[in-house]
């Protein structure tokens, strides 16, 4: 879909995923300039080497957001070691549980709501480990220190939390209705 050097494809991709990538980067790095640098890095890396995406394995959007997450976490570790000391677990949980204040797009709004519900159903220690890693950008060892838990337990919780959350999300997966056959229609 994207071929190297096709700026038009890059624009289409940015228009489709730029907002989500920026929102995620900003949530992690908490600095608008730094978030912009992260997003730019992501899209340029994609533009230079689109073959990095393996269509056989997972959706494009999840891959792009994973790359955004990775680069944002890198940036936060590079840039602001003191910032990270100031974030506490309670704040992360509060933020993840908050309703979006504005319904930007109905689908995203619904999806966020679904994920919030699933997160709430997760055992608290698993939720804590996932949120500290995902939005806090903490390593497993740092999470162990922050939560006063053995490292091995943190690793186990992270995997268990990931699996449980996946099950919870799949259980509420939306299903697409089929359409009736008939004469083709220009949309």
């Amino acid at each position: 879909m994207v071929t190297a050097g096709d700026e038009h494809a890059l624009e289409v991709l940015y228009d489709r995923y730029g907002r989500a990538a920026y929102a995620l980067a900003l949530r992690i790095v908490r600095d608008d300039e730094l978030a912009q640098e992260v997003v730019q890095e992501v899209f340029l890396a994609l533009w230079r080497d689109p073959a990095r995406f393996d269509a056989q394995r997972g959706s494009f959007s999840s891959w792009l957001l994973a790359m955004t997450h990775h680069k944002a976490v890198d940036a936060v570790r590079r840039e602001e070691s003191q910032r990270r000391r100031s974030i506490d677990v309670a704040a992360l949980e509060r933020e993840a549980g908050q309703q979006a204040e504005l319904d930007e797009q109905v689908w995203e709004g619904l999806r966020g709501e679904r994920v919030r519900t699933a997160l709430a159903a997760l055992p608290a220690p698993q939720r804590e480990a996932l949120l500290l890693a995902y939005f806090g950008g903490y390593t497993q060892r740092e999470i162990a220190a922050l939560t006063d838990t053995p490292l091995g337990t943190v690793k186990t919780r992270m995997l268990a939390g990931m699996r449980r959350l996946r099950e919870l999300l799949q259980a509420t997966q939306d299903r697409l209705p089929g359409g009736p056959p008939g004469r083709g229609e220009v949309l």
Binding site: L26, W47, H70, A133, R166, R183, E185, V186
Partner: protein, 254 residues
């Protein structure tokens, strides 16, 4: 539980940490030594990414500045033989206090921007607008598990005039460059050929404008898995004939 299973549990824990970019350097190095060739861990990482994308959707919605799009497109446009270069980091006067203010302003601006964006699309060249919409369609299909995009090529080669997007049996067509048909006397027809049978018509449809059109072509007669090829023909009359004439676009389904 066998010892081998216990051993692999360790890798699975590292896989979850790896997906989250949360491994210590030593663990990461060890895991990267294990990952190549391990289907279980690769699958686990892909699944973790889908879950993480869900987590991302709980992030507060903010509109990136328009300058970001411009900077990305500019950096991706090679000029005067220079390689693309990343945007120069600007002075870092912004700290969290400013971010908070920006987030609030951006959230308010969002409503305005979304309204204005629709108008901006209408003001654009029509062909371009449809082309963007069509590109979105194809991309949405490519990224959806269970949706397949099948290019139908012109008999004489060159540009691909039709892309079939098939999800289950639902099929839509993205036509790019099919000439508009005479909607009083001719029709386009989508055909499906399975191994055993003669080609059967899936849907008749019209192309009503030049450039790009997206057509909802209904349901395939047979599952895609048994299909040899899909084709589009241009037929005289408004109903599909018993057999197709020479197709204007054809794509084999592997």
């Amino acid at each position: 539980m066998t010892a081998a299973r216990d051993d692999h549990t360790r890798w699975e824990e590292l896989a979850a940490g790896y997906a989250l970019s949360a491994l210590e350097p030593a663990d990461e190095e060890a895991f990267l030594g294990h990952l190549p060739g391990c289907e279980v861990c690769a699958e686990l990482i892909a699944d973790a990414r889908e879950v993480m994308a869900g987590l991302a959707s709980t992030a507060p919605a903010v509109e990136p500045p328009a300058s970001l799009r411009d900077a990305i497109v500019a950096a991706a446009t090679p000029r005067a033989g220079l390689p693309p270069s990343p945007r120069q980091p600007r002075r870092r006067e912004t700290r969290r206090s400013r971010y908070a203010a920006v987030a609030v302003v951006a959230a308010v601006v969002l409503i305005v921007v979304l309204g204005v964006w629709n108008v901006a699309l209408q003001l654009q060249d029509r062909g371009q607008e449809h082309r963007l919409a069509a590109a979105e369609r194809v991309m949405a299909c490519v990224e959806q598990p269970g949706c397949r995009a099948i290019p139908l090529a012109a008999a004489k080669g060159g540009q691909v005039p039709v892309t079939a997007l098939v999800r289950g049996r639902e099929v839509s067509l993205v036509a790019d460059g099919l000439p508009p048909n005479d909607t009083t006397g001719t029709t386009y027809v989508l055909w499906q050929k399975t191994g055993a049978a003669d080609p059967s018509p899936v849907a008749a449809f019209d192309v009503t404008r030049d450039g790009v059109a997206v057509i909802d072509a209904g349901r395939l007669t047979d599952p895609l898995g048994t299909t040899e090829w899909l084709a589009v023909s241009h037929e005289t009359g408004r109903e599909p004939p018993a057999a197709p004439s020479e197709p204007v676009a054809l794509g084999t389904v592997s």
